[in-house]
């Protein structure tokens, strides 16, 4: 028997967790000596009050959609992929190689190739931890953490060495050719007669991100592979009994996860920076964890949570501009969301379950 209705599990628990995180954040803001209500107003105005704000919100949200989906897909197979950060870095390398070393006549072809390159590199970076987990039993959480650091050292090596143009000072690649520059939301919406900020970095990758959400939904709930992934996640012995190969599922799921994380690079590297810089991911790989937990590993939930975190990021940047609240407040909120929706899930869930059971008894 279900202990509580599905809507409570899907909607109520995340909302209560979010509320708890918000209350603690408000206390933190009060402790800094600022006004939380004023802070929220500033954040809403800065992130959603103009097309410029929206442009940044959606740009950040696009990053988090990809990394959130990456973590979510792995969660379905009960694999915890903390390596999104490293996989996204490698994805950036894939994008950079595609854009710099191949001639592209049009951005659309470049986008497809870059997405493939990013996905391939991200998947490749997830492959080793996956195969080691499947074949040798090495804990995937530890190996993916290690691979984040190895990726950072590797990119550092490339960006101060082989990939840096001659004579350049800062560790980054050359600018990508004009033909690979993606249209921004301004360019896309202008022909439709909708005015959108020209300066904001949101670009066509946002639509690719939305498409990725739909495709992941199809994969998880409408394909044989998705069924196998979920079956494996629910019970490994049962999956094995049903003839599902744990090795195959672990490796394939992690590679899909790595590919999704890697594809974030079409947004931040190709769409925004238009060159590969050091630490291009800026922690987005880790925010994917919060986004996937918040979104209950469902693509639509991930979509909403990504927008929420995009709002928090842009709002937080505005906040640090106008008040004494540092930008790091967002990291605290992110930590609280992970804490309440992930680790302290039972703290919220158990009293609620008890409450629903009591209601049911009274009704019966």
């Amino acid at each position: 028997m279900e202990r509580m209705p599905k809507w409570a599990d899907v909607v109520l628990i995340p909302l209560i967790s979010l509320l708890l995180a918000a209350v603690i954040s408000a206390i933190v803001i009060l402790a800094i000596g600022e006004d939380p209500i004023n802070a929220v107003q500033l954040m809403v105005k800065g992130a959603l009050g103009s097309t410029y704000g929206w442009g940044y919100t959606l740009y950040y949200a696009t990053n988090f959609m990809f990394t959130g989906l990456a973590v979510a897909v792995a969660f379905h197979a009960r694999l915890f992929n903390i390596g999104g950060e490293g996989q996204a870095m490698l994805g950036g390398l894939g994008v950079a190689l595609v854009c710099l070393y191949l001639p592209w006549p049009h951005w659309s072809l470049a986008l497809i190739a870059a997405a493939l390159g990013a996905g391939l590199f991200g998947a490749a970076w997830a492959f080793l931890p996956a195969i080691l987990q499947a074949k040798r039993g090495s804990h995937i959480v530890i190996t993916t953490i290690m691979f984040n650091f190895i990726a950072a050292a590797f990119l550092n090596y490339l960006l101060v060495g082989a990939l840096k143009p001659r004579g350049a000072m800062d560790p980054s690649t050359a600018r990508f050719p004009e033909a690979t520059n993606l249209p921004s939301l301004h360019d896309i919406l202008a022909p439709l007669g909708i005015g959108f900020s020209k300066a904001a970095p949101a670009n066509i990758a946002f639509l690719v991100g939305v498409l990725a959400c739909v495709l992941v939904w199809l994969l998880i709930w409408r394909t044989r592979l998705g069924y196998e992934i979920r079956a494996f996640g629910h019970s490994e012995p049962a999956a094995l009994y049903a003839g599902i190969s744990p090795t195959k599922i672990t490796v394939v799921t992690m590679m899909i996860s790595g590919a999704l994380a890697g594809m974030m690079a079409i947004n931040n590297v190709m769409g925004e920076a238009e060159r590969l810089v050091l630490n291009a991911t800026e922690g987005a790989g880790f925010i994917g964890i919060a986004v996937a937990l918040m979104g209950r590993s469902h693509p639509f939930g991930v979509f909403l949570a990504a927008i929420l975190f995009g709002f928090l990021y842009q709002g937080g940047a505005e906040l640090s501009l106008w008040t004494n609240i540092p930008r790091e407040l967002i990291i605290v909120i992110q930590a609280l969301v992970i804490l309440f929706t992930g680790a302290l899930d039972n703290m919220v869930r158990l009293p609620l379950e008890r409450m629903f059971m009591a209601f049911r008894r009274m009704g019966a």
């Binding site: 903390i82 080691l132 804990h139 190996t143 290690m146 060495g161 407040l329 992110q334």
Partner: protein
């Protein structure tokens, strides 16, 4: 290379190994009791900030150390609350604690000191200074032994000696006391411990608090001995290197010492030379940065002996009724 150069590299190896060693032993207590802890980094960072901040305000490094330990233990208790009391996912809790520390330290530093997320530089009694061991000055000019004693063994802060003393102490606690036996048992087979009438919850909380204590000293060492003050994200992945060392050491105290000395040595070389010329091949500094992680993956893959974690690690214990 001259003896003095070698000694200087080894000297900085000792300095850089110390925080790794303390954090590694911290993780050892926690993981041996069956509580995975990837929040070592966050606890060290919190301790680094609070020790530096309180030492800067009070001018006493010992009060600072106390504050650092308190902050670290508080985060440990949060980890315990999530993973023992509410039986949550220990890995997710660790991730949350890392972010909480990363955000909160800068937030509070900015509010208290307005110096861009750092603490004021520590001076005088606000820092742990080197301890000159008896006879170091006198023996200094004796060939070979003199420089080794003076440069390498003497002249570190008290926390360095404390950290090294923790290795035999940890060994003794784990393998020679009743508490240690129970602690190891609770990480392998909590049901058996419970059947014997011993509280699994209390044992695991004890382990988690010891973990917090040691992480606290590690963090305080970073901010008040190795450096003079806190800067944003100053742990710089040391918590994860310690975690790597713990696996490398296969969850054993003496091996933890060797592993952290090795990783500290790699850091010391990367710090000193940009590139390492081995004669036949030149290793870039980034390779030195990545080497601890690569070695850990190789060990985890089981190609050089198998690293088997405590059997009940990561699983919350549900008491039978």
């Amino acid at each position: 290379m001259e003896l003095l150069t070698v000694l200087q590299v080894l000297d900085s190896t000792v300095r850089l190994s110390t925080p790794l060693l303390l954090a590694c032993l911290a993780g050892l207590f926690s993981e041996r009791a069956g509580i995975f802890d990837i929040g070592l980094e966050g606890k060290m960072l919190a301790a680094a900030f609070f020790s530096a901040a309180i030492a800067a305000v009070t001018g006493s490094v010992w009060i600072g150390l106390g504050a650092g330990i308190t902050a670290s233990v508080a985060l440990s208790l949060l980890h315990g609350l999530a993973s023992i009391t509410f039986r949550g996912n220990q890995l997710i809790s660790g991730v949350a604690i890392n972010f909480l520390a990363a955000g909160m330290t800068v937030l509070i530093a900015q509010t208290w000191f307005q110096q861009g997320g750092r603490t004021p530089a520590l001076i005088g009694g606000g820092r742990f200074n080197g301890v000159v061991l008896p006879g170091a000055e006198a023996l200094r000019d004796v060939p070979v032994i003199g420089p080794i004693y003076y440069e390498l063994i003497s002249g570190h802060s008290i926390l360095v000696y404390a950290a090294f003393a923790c290795v035999p102490l940890t060994w003794w606690v784990l393998y020679r006391t009743r508490f240690g036996l129970r602690l190891r048992a609770v990480g392998e087979n909590p049901e058996a411990v419970d059947t014997a009438g011993i509280s699994v919850t209390r044992l695991r909380f004890a382990a988690v608090v010891i973990c917090g204590l040691l992480c606290g000293i590690a963090g305080a060492y970073l901010a008040t001995a190795l450096q003079a003050g806190f800067v944003q994200d100053m742990t710089a992945g040391r918590g994860f290197i310690a975690l790597a060392a713990l696996i490398f050491a296969k969850w054993r105290p003496w091996h933890a010492l060797y592993a952290t000395l090795l990783f500290g040595f790699l850091q010391a070389i990367a710090l000193r030379n940009q590139n390492l010329d081995l004669g036949f091949v030149t290793l870039p500094a980034q390779a030195m940065d990545a080497l601890p992680y690569i070695l850990t993956v190789v060990i985890l893959a089981g190609f050089v002996g198998k690293a088997v974690p405590p059997r009940a690690g990561g699983q919350p214990y549900v008491k039978e009724r």
